[in-house]
Amino acid sequence: MFQISPQLGSQLVDLCAALLLLTCFAIVAQRRLSACVDLFALQSVFLAATAALVAFLTGIHHIYVAAALTVVIKAVVLPRILKKVIERLNVSRELQMNINVPAGLLVCGTLVILAFYITQPIIPLGFLLTRDSLAIALAIILIGFFTMIARKKAVTQVVGFLVMENGLFLGATAAAYGMPLIVELGVFFDVLVAGLIIGIYTHRIQDAFDSVDTSKLTVLKE
């Protein structure tokens, strides 16, 4: 087995985390629904790579299991479910948003700075390999949350929710070298079920309102 110096290892983890953040910005700027889902799948692959790297550097084996589950559930199964939903919906892109793309990008930039500013006093206190990853994790959670607010279509709101979940997973890996395996399994199961339920629920919205625009849900219908 070859060894990587902790300095280099921590830089590699930061690099993977920064890739996750980059895909977040791509999701915020992307209007096509299927491309948003593809970007989410890509982000999940980067997340799995980060987790595998942390597992390798720390020698904690159960993180490998979490990384493998991330690939299977978040990069393969959930994108497939969402793609099916999009296929049935007959909408390929999102033209109306609550906050338009250029303004959304500026807001996301501010959120990232905020996340770094908040976590900066905490990071030097720890001796973890994953220095900047905690800040990036917080930034991803905030951006995911923002995506849910800014978008109107149910599908992109689901993607925002899943991005938030990715951020939480990254945060758990970065701050605590992963949660106990049983908790992680539970979370994965929850996410999968949530994805399924939201998928079916989106169909129901489409059937009832002839649209997946969630802003129409405020109107009462007989």
């Binding site: 830089q11 590699l12 930061d14 690099l15 985390a17 920064a18 890739l19 953040l21 980059l22 910005f25 791509a26 700027a29 793309v101 250029p102 990008l105 500026l106 996301c108 930039g109 990232v112 700075i113 770094f116 500013y117 900066q120 900047d132 990036i136």
Partner: protein, 316 residues
């Protein structure tokens, strides 16, 4: 003295010779991805040679700007190329200008191209000029900021110093996240500035949406050859900048023949690799609507801004 002179001449020849090849590589990759055999990699050289032999036609309504611009564009782009270290990290001309000079040498060429589009008074040219002005004004802040982010980590605005220090991993706080952000921003800027697919389509003269081709529509003969050669060199300047600022490893840090040989080989592999990547991107994506270009370049701007801010937050 003689050695520095030789280095400069070598880089001039390198840029002149390699730039049509890079254009050829991109066309070849696109052709192969479209299941065509495509023209030879050396077709751009033949095109240039043909154009240089043809007689240029100049409209009677144009001013001196029309005939002067190809030379200004060619010279400013070549001068910009000399400021970027290509195969050796210490360029003798590095006293002459830093990254700010590089950005504005390229902007000088763009400015004259915009004037030329208006000069002939054709509707197409004017449209191309106004679009180019939009794109240029949006790319400039993103480009400046992404380059500043790198300059801050290296502690110098001199490109030779930046590349040299990064290649030797000496005295640089290597922080991947700002570097990655700046790289993504600069790559988007490179696509927009050189008129590549998500922003402009270099493969057609027959589209209402064209930008660069609309401005140079009036050119023919040797003027067109110079403009096209300059466009190829601008692309090469950007690819060199991306390759050597973000991954300078392999570049000759000393001036021994062996190091320069390796540096040259590594450089050619790196820029060809980037050219293949651009060819793949051009095949994968459709051109954006003009009004969506600002969003695309907005991403570059935000990423560059973040790269710059990260430096202060992480090191502040």
């Amino acid at each position: 003295m003689l050695q520095s002179l030789a280095l400069v001449v070598a880089q001039v020849i390198l840029f002149l010779v390699v730039s049509p090849f890079i254009v050829g590589v991109i066309r070849k990759v696109k052709a192969r991805l479209q299941c065509r055999r495509g023209a030879s990699l050396f077709q751009p050289y033949a095109d240039l040679a043909k154009l240089f032999r043809k007689q240029p036609v100049v409209s009677t309504t144009t001013s001196w700007i029309f005939t002067a611009t190809p030379y200004i564009l060619f010279a400013s782009t070549l001068a910009a190329g000399l400021l970027v270290p290509a195969f050796a990290s210490q360029m003798p001309l590095n006293f002459a200008g830093n990254i700010i000079a590089l950005v504005y040498l390229l902007a000088l060429g763009t400015f004259f191209l915009i004037l030329v589009g208006l000069d002939a008074g054709s509707a197409f040219g004017g449209m191309g000029s106004s679009r180019e002005a939009i794109v240029a004004s949006l790319t400039e802040p993103a480009m400046i900021m992404s380059i500043f982010a790198i300059a801050l980590t290296a502690g110098s605005t001199n490109l030779s110093t930046i590349v040299h220090k990064t290649a030797l991993l000496e005295g640089i706080v290597t922080d991947p996240s700002p570097h990655l952000m700046a790289l993504a921003a600069l790559f988007i800027v490179a696509l927009a500035e050189t008129g590549r697919v998500p922003v402009d389509n270099p493969a057609t003269h027959l589209e209402l949406t064209m930008i660069h081709e609309a401005m140079v529509l009036e050119y023919s003969g040797r003027y067109l050859a110079l403009v096209e050669w300059a466009a190829g060199m601008k692309l090469l300047v950007f690819l060199t900048l991306i390759a050597n600022v973000f991954a300078p490893w392999g570049i000759a840090t000393s001036l021994t023949p062996a190091a320069i040989g390796i540096g040259l080989a590594v450089y050619l592999v790196k820029v060809s690799g980037l050219a293949v990547l651009i060819g793949v991107i051009e095949s994968m994506f459709a051109k954006l609507r003009l009004f969506r270009v600002s969003e695309f370049l907005g991403v570059a701007f935000i990423l560059a801004l973040l790269a710059l801010v990260f430096f202060y937050i992480l090191r502040g």
